[in-house]
């Protein structure tokens, strides 16, 4: 009986995920209302619960896909995968005012450059403090501090060892998760409350998943603006990591 049920759940994995995630949303929004009087947004609680479940099941299975490594929950991986995520995020742009985007375009570009610079600098500086001196490894770790995609792409282009690539992915994951958790708390003090601020934030943070989840838990109206600039970050990072940044790091190390 239970084998047949598991079989059914795997065949209808996405349906199981819809029902389960809906339940998590319900619990989170009620918890937000009852225990925090709405001060902590329901979506922030739901995202946090998702992360906690991902850790717990990650330790249980030893896998890399959070709860989706459990056969019963593969549908959650589909639902939270790139295809559905991009589809939903693009849909949020419906109703965005073109003027808001056009007026802030230059700020988006400035923040992308500033964000990449800061991320590479932070990653490289920390790696240096930890005693890393090889320019390939320094650049790869700096790239990981940008996003967990820039890290491995840069590492592969430069021929870094798989240990260093793994470290760079871990650094990018730490960043994404910290951004998810810290954004709702820091949004007010840093003035993240209007479309232009969200475009700046998306460009500087750059980590797609972190930015989207962070803004979702802060103010859903801001999501399309942050997502718009963040989407250029990873590509630009992959472009400058193995080229400009690597050349600069090699120059720095040799002097």
């Amino acid at each position: 009986m239970s084998a047949a049920l598991l079989d059914l759940a795997q065949k209808y994995a996405l349906v199981v995920a819809f029902a389960l995630v809906g339940l998590v949303m319900l619990v989170s929004y009620q918890a937000s209302r009852l225990f925090t009087r709405g001060r902590v947004h329901g979506s922030a609680i739901a995202i946090f619960m998702g992360l906690v479940a991902a850790v717990a099941i990650g330790y249980l299975t030893g896998g890399k896909k959070g709860v989706a490594d459990l056969p019963l929950l593969v549908g959650v991986g589909t639902m939270g995968g790139a295809m559905f995520r991009d589809f939903a995020i693009v849909a949020t742009a419906y109703g965005v005012r073109i003027r808001d985007l056009r007026d802030s375009g230059i700020h988006g570009i400035v923040s992308l450059c500033a964000g990449l610079l800061v991320a590479f600098a932070a990653g490289i500086a920390v790696a240096w403090v930890f005693g890393v001196r090889d320019p390939v490894e320094l650049t790869t770790l700096g790239a990981g501090a940008a996003t967990y995609i820039v890290g491995p792409v840069t590492g592969a282009a430069l021929g870094a060892s798989s240990e260093v690539v793994a470290l760079s992915i871990a650094a990018g994951l730490v960043k994404a998760i910290l951004v998810m958790l810290a954004t709702p708390a820091l949004a007010r003090p840093i003035g993240l409350d209007n479309p232009r601020a969200a475009m700046i934030y998306g460009g500087v943070m750059g980590t797609n998943s972190g930015v989207i989840a962070g803004l979702a838990a802060t103010d859903p109206k801001l999501v399309p603006y942050g997502a718009m600039t963040a989407t250029f970050y990873t590509g630009l990072g992959c472009l400058i990591g193995p080229s400009l940044v690597f050349a600069f790091v090699r120059f720095l190390v040799s002097t």
């Binding site: 946090f48 920390v126 792409v153 470290l167 998760i177 992959c238 472009l239």
Partner: protein, 129 residues
């Protein structure tokens, strides 16, 4: 027909991703550049173009809006399928690099917002230091 909205959304996403991929590979990198952003611009542009031509019926809109409305549950599913264990067990170098990067990035955001991002209407008045 509500599905026309969904179909347009799908077309915009795929075209945007394809363009982003094309830009990426023309620059010699194995990653797309701005695919989702391009798709967003395509969606905004095409719906307003169709509206101006009188070809966009309000009955199409829910086919787009529904997907925009459920992105929070999708993000929750995304959070639940992240390799969080990998982030926690990545070692102190990875952890320190991630923390330093986020701390510096938030400081940068605060600085840039204070300088440029208060209110979209008043940016001309905020050029002086």
């Amino acid at each position: 027909m509500v599905f026309y909205g969904t179909a347009l959304l799908a077309g915009c996403l795929f075209a945007g991703l394809a363009l982003g991929q094309l830009i990426g590979s023309s620059l010699g990198i194995q990653s797309d550049i701005g695919g989702v952003g391009i798709a967003m611009l395509l969606l905004i542009g095409s719906t307003s173009w169709l509206t101006r031509r009188g070809a966009w019926s309000p009955s199409f809109a829910p086919g787009v809006q529904y997907w925009g409305d459920i992105y929070i549950p999708i993000v929750v599913a995304m959070a639940a399928s992240q390799n969080v264990r990998g982030a926690l067990t990545g070692g102190s170098l990875a952890f320190a690099a991630g923390v330093a990067s986020v701390a510096l990035a938030f400081a940068t955001v605060a600085l840039l917002i204070r300088r440029f991002g208060r209110s979209p209407a008043a940016h001309d008045a905020q050029v002086s230091p």
